[in-house]
């Protein structure tokens, strides 16, 4: 197995999305911190890895990649035989099953991510960075996220996980933003919806996610 390097601070939602996937797949990796407070993500050397100056970046012996959801797909394809083999649907299950996972992965990206990212920034990162919170932005995005979670509530009444009856990359993609929102005291959004609460409890207690959360409080490398 080649050497995998992930660049970025583990507390970044996008970085931790990749770490969760690597851990689900039992793939060893090296994590190289990028000091964003010092602007390292905009340095010429880093921009060669990630031209938009964002985290994470990913390297192995074949590829240099960025965008967490693309990196996750690559990890699932390259390490198809390792760890959790069913993250993009079962092998040989046919195109419909994979398409179901793709559909909910896109729902995370297009519907869940925008309002939840805004809330994560407002509730978790703005205070850390000494920036003022914007109550109007919190209210607006909470309302948007509530509508998305209503759709999830109905879906999760029909299916154990979002795409199918087994944990998939579509569920995994939600872990970082949902974690921060719940940790910042807005867990009632999840807890008040019976099926969403069940789903959140199941996915957030997975060993792979617990290991990622442990990394949040580890001292930087």
């Amino acid at each position: 197995m080649g050497s995998v390097t992930v660049y970025g601070p583990p507390i970044s939602t996008a970085v931790s999305r990749v770490l969760a996937c690597l851990l689900e797949k039992d793939v060893d990796f090296k994590l190289v911190n990028v000091d964003m407070a010092k602007g390292q993500h905009k340095s010429p050397d880093y921009l060669k890895l990630q031209p938009f100056g964002q985290v994470p970046a990913f390297q192995d012996e074949h590829a240099t990649l960025f965008e967490s959801r693309a990196i996750c797909r690559y990890i699932c394809d390259k390490y198809a035989d390792r760890g959790n083999k069913n993250l993009l649907g079962r092998n040989g299950a046919g195109p419909a099953e994979r398409a179901q996972v793709e559909q909910w992965l896109e729902a995370e990206s297009q519907s869940f991510n925008p309002p939840s990212s805004a809330l994560v920034f407002q509730l978790a990162f703005a205070p850390r960075m000494g920036l003022p919170q914007d109550p109007a932005a919190v209210e607006l995005n909470q309302a948007k996220l509530a509508k998305v979670l209503d759709v999830y509530e109905r879906r999760l009444g029909e299916s154990r996980f979002l795409a199918r009856d087994e944990f998939s990359l579509a569920d995994l993609a939600h872990l970082p933003n949902a974690h921060y929102i719940c940790s910042a005291g807005k867990d009632d959004m999840f807890a008040s919806r019976k099926n969403v609460a069940r789903w959140w409890e199941e996915i957030s207690t997975r060993l792979s996610w617990k290991k990622v959360v442990d990394m949040y409080s580890a001292p930087p490398a």
Binding site: E67, R73, R98, E102, E106
Partner: protein
């Protein structure tokens, strides 16, 4: 049996799916969903797309939503009858397609859609007023994204590599509208971006699908 797309030519996400179907020479039916009567929020459509958006897609018993997921399914289903736009056979190539598809969804889309929403959707579909400040900010953001694209496209013919892929095509729906607007200069002023766009716009699938799409011109 022909597959069905539930949507409208005015829905950029619907156009994304139609482009893929046309590229692959697939037989399909476009079932119009009427935005103005709120048909996209009606129970029959919500049964197909629980977010009440366009498009939805039907292939026998399989119902899908989210245009990029539908598109991937279409490109795989008809793989033997059209160009290889996902490069599933190569780990490195398919990874690059996925990277630039995510760039489109996360970076490009956010900037360019704001311009389109403010200058066309809001006034035409909602009777609202364009927020020029949002437009100016979005134009600036899009310019920065296109600077990265210019650098990328000076090294490779298309975004994922020297091969056309779904990552390139996925940019067409919003870009089509901006090219027809005064903001076309964002593309025309960047040599390699301009050449890339002209290559996409010269494709028969592009011409056929976009002929049915009203632009603000």
């Amino acid at each position: 049996m022909a597959v069905k797309v539930y949507g409208a030519a005015t829905s950029t996400a619907t156009v994304r799916v139609l482009l893929c179907l046309e590229e692959m020479g697939a037989e399909y039916e476009l079932v119009p969903i009427d935005f103005f009567t709120g048909e996209h929020k009606s129970p029959p459509h919500l049964a197909r797309n629980p977010f009440g958006q366009m498009p939805a897609f039907e292939d026998g018993d399989l119902i899908l939503f989210e245009s990029r997921a539908i598109s991937r399914y279409v490109l795989r289903k008809y793989k033997s009858s059209g160009p290889d736009l996902l490069r599933d056979g190569s780990l490195e190539e398919s990874a690059m397609v996925d990277v630039w598809l995510e760039v489109e969804a996360q970076q490009y889309d956010k900037a360019i859609s704001s311009i389109y929403i403010e200058t066309v959707i809001k006034p035409v579909f909602f009777g609202g007023v364009t927020d020029e400040k949002v437009v100016a900010e979005s134009v600036e953001k899009l310019g920065k994204v296109l600077d990265v694209y210019e650098a990328r496209l000076s090294k490779s013919k298309y975004l994922a590599g020297d091969f056309l892929s779904f990552a390139d095509l996925s940019h067409i729906p919003y870009t089509q509208h901006i090219i027809a607007s005064p903001h076309a200069s964002l593309f025309e002023s960047r040599l390699h971006v301009k050449a890339w766009w002209e290559s996409l716009a010269s494709r028969p699938a592009y011409k056929k699908v976009t002929a049915g799409v009203p632009t603000s011109k």
